[in-house]
């Protein structure tokens, strides 16, 4: 009896690991192939031999150096980082203020104004794109960081997320602050805001990832190769040099590695941030 239970247990374990490992391999193959191709010569990359997996005549790291120079990766990184930083600052700043007001304060028109936030989240974002582009164009900020950041100056989703964050805080905090002589602004800044740090981190990660992954908006606003982001830059490269496979893969590696490193360091925050915010990426 006892041994049959333990056999069943072992079989269960084996099946579990087998399934997980199979999927782990499926998840890994594209990454591995991307890196392996990136260090081959084009000749090697297009040799049709299933066992020709690893590069045979040395690892050609110079592919990275080549794309780094010819696609001006420093500029792409710089543009992307600025884009992300400003998006995150704008989103956190406006959302935390509005979230606090919606979550903790009473004021006339609150319900109607909050419904504006909720309705925005239900509208597909594609409906905003053409007029947003025309506005950016009229403001003469095409091909600038300001133009990239523009649609992300405020965030309905972030406002909603932080409102929930503020609402979950204990009720008597404000009273205690008021007794200590804080006005509403001070209460918000010194007492309430620090307590919603985890919601802010979630929103920050969400916003950063969204900006990093966004393709359509950077392609529309930054048509100039020296002003665009990594994602849109890759699209441009593919259009121009699509058949130099090692170069393409080297570029793809360069584009995703920084975010992967950040993700591995801040894994817990990433996974929890995305899971709790439940935002649509």
């Amino acid at each position: 009896m006892d041994s049959s239970i333990s056999t069943k247990y072992t079989v269960n374990k084996i099946i579990t690991y087998t399934v997980l490992i199979i999927f782990a391999i499926i998840m890994l193959v594209p990454f591995v192939w991307m890196i392996l191709t990136a260090i081959k010569t084009n000749q090697e990359a297009i040799s049709v031999d299933p066992f020709y997996i690893f590069p045979h005549n040395g690892w050609h790291f110079e592919n990275f150096a080549t794309v780094w120079k010819s696609y001006n990766f420093i500029t792409l990184y710089k543009n992307t980082i600025l884009f992300i930083i400003f998006r995150v600052i704008c989103a956190c700043l406006t959302a935390t203020m509005a979230g606090y007001a919606f979550g903790r304060l009473e004021f006339p028109g609150k319900k109607i104004l909050f419904s504006l936030v909720l309705i925005q989240m239900m509208i597909p974002a594609q409906i905003f794109v053409i007029p947003q582009y025309l506005m950016v164009s009229k403001l003469h900020i095409l091909n600038t960081t300001a133009g990239l950041v523009f649609p992300g100056l405020v965030t309905a989703f972030g406002t909603y997320l932080l409102k929930t964050g503020y609402q979950s805080l204990p009720k008597d905090l404000e009273e205690a602050a008021a007794i200590d002589g804080c006005n509403i602004g001070q209460t918000f800044l010194f007492i309430m805001m620090p307590l919603t740090r985890s919601s802010m981190v979630s929103l920050g990660i969400f916003t950063a990832l969204f900006a990093f992954k966004d393709l359509m908006w950077p392609m529309i606003v930054c048509t100039n190769a020296s002003t665009t982001t990594l994602s849109a830059g890759l699209a441009k490269m593919q259009g121009q040099y699509g058949s130099d496979y090692p170069a393409m893969m080297a570029a793809a590696v360069l584009a995703i590695v920084p975010m992967i490193v950040i993700y591995i360091i801040f894994q817990k925050q990433f996974v929890e941030g995305i899971a709790t915010s439940g935002g649509k990426l």
Binding site: V19, V48, P124, Q126, L230
Partner: protein, 296 residues
């Protein structure tokens, strides 16, 4: 609204409240509400030459859009993409999430790995998959000794693109499922075990109903996400791809008309079709939610 006299403290609160929501509300009006209305207006206009001047043409764009085989085809393509991505992405993610509930060595490693595509730019992901799918030199055809035109055969290209979508989304869905699974009280399972229910029976009688709010949330966000797919499509499907017509999504078509061709009026009309379609889908999903989702 009846005007009540506010106490000084209420007044103070109201002023702070308005001041705090002002940037967001102003932003939403300028960046979202005005554009939404403007898109509706533009869909009734013909874009003048050189992008200058809109000429009001009434429902002309809609007549063209609704009579266009291309638009209907792309809408159908989008639905086909969703049919691949949504169910597969959800079933696989649920399977992995359930397996990850057990005590396992290397659990964090698996989770990190499955979630990895979520932090990668879809543009890069699509490039790699395009290379894997390459008919002449791609890894897939080499390993399996096949000669399949994965992404240029109109009959299968939509599945191939859908699989990239599945690969990209599994980790995200899985993390949401793990969150949902952790909220199910453990004693349900203990009680079931005492009654001698098998794991499969436990899965269908406890996990599935109690997880249904999470599942529904994922289904809903994924359907809408899939119906607005763009990045993967754009990167994988070149303009010269033979399967483009039978694969491109409606947002891709919108992008092509509104921005590549600069025909904003027509592009706006395509977006309106998408919006109406998504609203219909959302409506039915809400109806469905009341029927199948089990709330405690």
């Amino acid at each position: 609204m009846t005007k009540k006299k506010m106490t000084p403290s209420q007044k103070r609160q109201a002023i702070w409240g308005w001041a705090f929501v002002l940037p967001s509300i102003l932003g939403l009006i300028v960046l979202n509400y005005y554009p939404a209305i403007n898109t509706v207006y533009q869909s009734l206009c013909k874009t003048g030459d050189f992008g200058k001047g809109n000429i009001f043409v009434g429902l002309n764009n809609y007549k063209t859009v609704l009579g266009s085989a291309e638009v209907w085809q792309s809408l159908w393509n989008t639905v086909k993409y969703a049919i691949v991505e949504v169910p597969l992405g959800i079933v696989i993610a649920l399977l992995l999430a359930v397996l990850m509930q057990k005590k396992l060595a290397g659990k964090t490693l698996f989770r990190t790995l499955f979630f990895l595509p979520m932090v990668c730019a879809p543009a890069a992901v699509a490039m790699v998959w395009k290379w894997l799918y390459n008919q002449q030199f791609g890894l897939l055809n080499n390993v399996f000794h096949t000669n399949v035109a994965w992404i240029s055969d109109p009959k299968i290209a939509w599945i191939s693109v859908g699989i990239i979508g599945v690969w990209s989304i599994i980790g995200y869905n899985m993390v949401l499922f793990i969150g949902g699974l952790q909220e199910i009280p453990k004693d349900y399972y203990e009680a079931a075990q005492i009654d001698g229910a098998s794991s499969i029976r436990q899965f269908f009688s406890i996990t599935v109903p109690l997880l249904s709010p999470t599942t529904f949330f994922i289904v809903q966000t994924r359907i809408i996400g899939a119906l607005t797919v763009f990045d993967l499509m754009f990167m994988v499907m070149d303009k010269t791809n033979l399967a483009l017509n039978k694969t491109q999504s409606i947002v891709y078509l919108f992008y092509t008309y509104a921005f590549t061709n600069g025909n904003r009026g027509y592009g706006a009309a395509i977006v309106m079709v998408l919006v109406v379609f998504i609203m219909i889908v959302t409506f039915f999903l809400q109806k469905l939610e009341k029927k199948i989702v089990y709330y405690n």
